[in-house]
Amino acid sequence: MDPAQLKRNIQRVRNLPTLPPIVAKIEKLVESPTTSSAEVARVIAQDQVLSAKMLRMANSPFFGMSRKISSVTQALVILGFNVIKGLVLTTSVFEMMQHSVVGLWEHSLGSAAAARVIAARLGQAEVEEISVAGLLHDLGKVVLTVQLEPEVRDAIFGLVDEKKISFREAEQEVLGLTHTQIGLWLAEHWKLPETLSEPMTYHHHPERARQAPLQTAVVHLADIIIRARGFGSGGDPYVPPLSEAAWKLLGLSTNDFDAILEEIEPGLLNLADWV
């Protein structure tokens, strides 16, 4: 591809989707130390579609909450602002893409479920946040497939088929950058905390994570497990390589695989709660 076209492609994907105004509004509120979660909840509750979706997500089997969350205030208190922000962003971005890439949505939900199960197994306190990190990790791919010209997008998919390489390798070859780079831009643009941005940026190289190595390692393994299980599509049919460093950090045993797969399974059967 000639450099001018390459530059056009990069500008195109860098032109990130606009932040829903409500997120900016909430962000501003949260920056002030005197804001209470009740005030934030009030702003979210003003948007009925958003609050309904958020509550549905919070109560879905992907999060595996032991009790029902019935109000936005309760969701904020129990799940925390970062989780809520992650849910708002995911909803908005996937809405924008209108499921043009069937399989990515399922891959994201499956990764969220797998990340939750792994985090709980490790006794992590921030299970929901790690689950949202799983949900967000491939958001760069969504943006890529929405923003790029169809011919460029098709060229990436074509290369995966033709050369039997991963989607990430094909991205690199066609665009000179990958979805993790776009994930980083998205995270910076949306001022996501490192606990969410590092899994988005480093889920293929978890040893590079600095602030959130454990969260990144969990999402790395969740991605591998859900692809191995064969649920949704990350753009190619292959299980990605496992990072030895991440595996060591997690401290799991190969005997855990069966139990992890067993716990993930129920959440994968019914996705209609998310529609």
């Binding site: 499921h99 595996w247 190969t254 399974e265 209609a272």
Partner: protein, 109 residues
């Protein structure tokens, strides 16, 4: 056996014998899912008129063997690029064992 029934005769607890998708291809639920009240509400809202449900045993032993072979080959294919990793080999083994026990993925248990 698989039976096609009108949606208004479907009840929670029945087992779905087909994968359901929205018009735009979005996956709603997998084959083998149990019908829930919420799912039935969603299907009604989306305008589904009939669905296929499981009644009794559906597969002959030969069909079952063919399905297992097919699914196993699919798992093998996903792992071709990581074939030398001993840890991922264990993950593959766990998946194949689950498949043989009938607890993995869609399809009747």
């Amino acid at each position: 056996m698989i039976e096609k029934i009108p949606l208004d005769e479907a009840r929670p607890g029945m087992i779905l014998a087909q994968q359901l998708q929205r018009d735009d291809g979005l996956l709603l639920c997998q084959k083998g899912a149990e019908l829930t009240e919420n799912l039935l509400r969603v299907l009604t809202r989306l305008g589904f008129e009939t669905i296929q449900i499981e009644v009794g045993q559906t597969e002959t032993p030969a069909e079952q063997a063919a399905r297992l072979a097919r699914d196993e080959a699919e798992i093998e294919a996903r792992f071709v690029r990581v074939a030398s990793d001993p840890i991922l080999a264990e993950l593959k083994r766990a998946l194949i064992q689950r498949l043989r026990r009938g607890v993995h993925g869609p399809g009747p248990a």
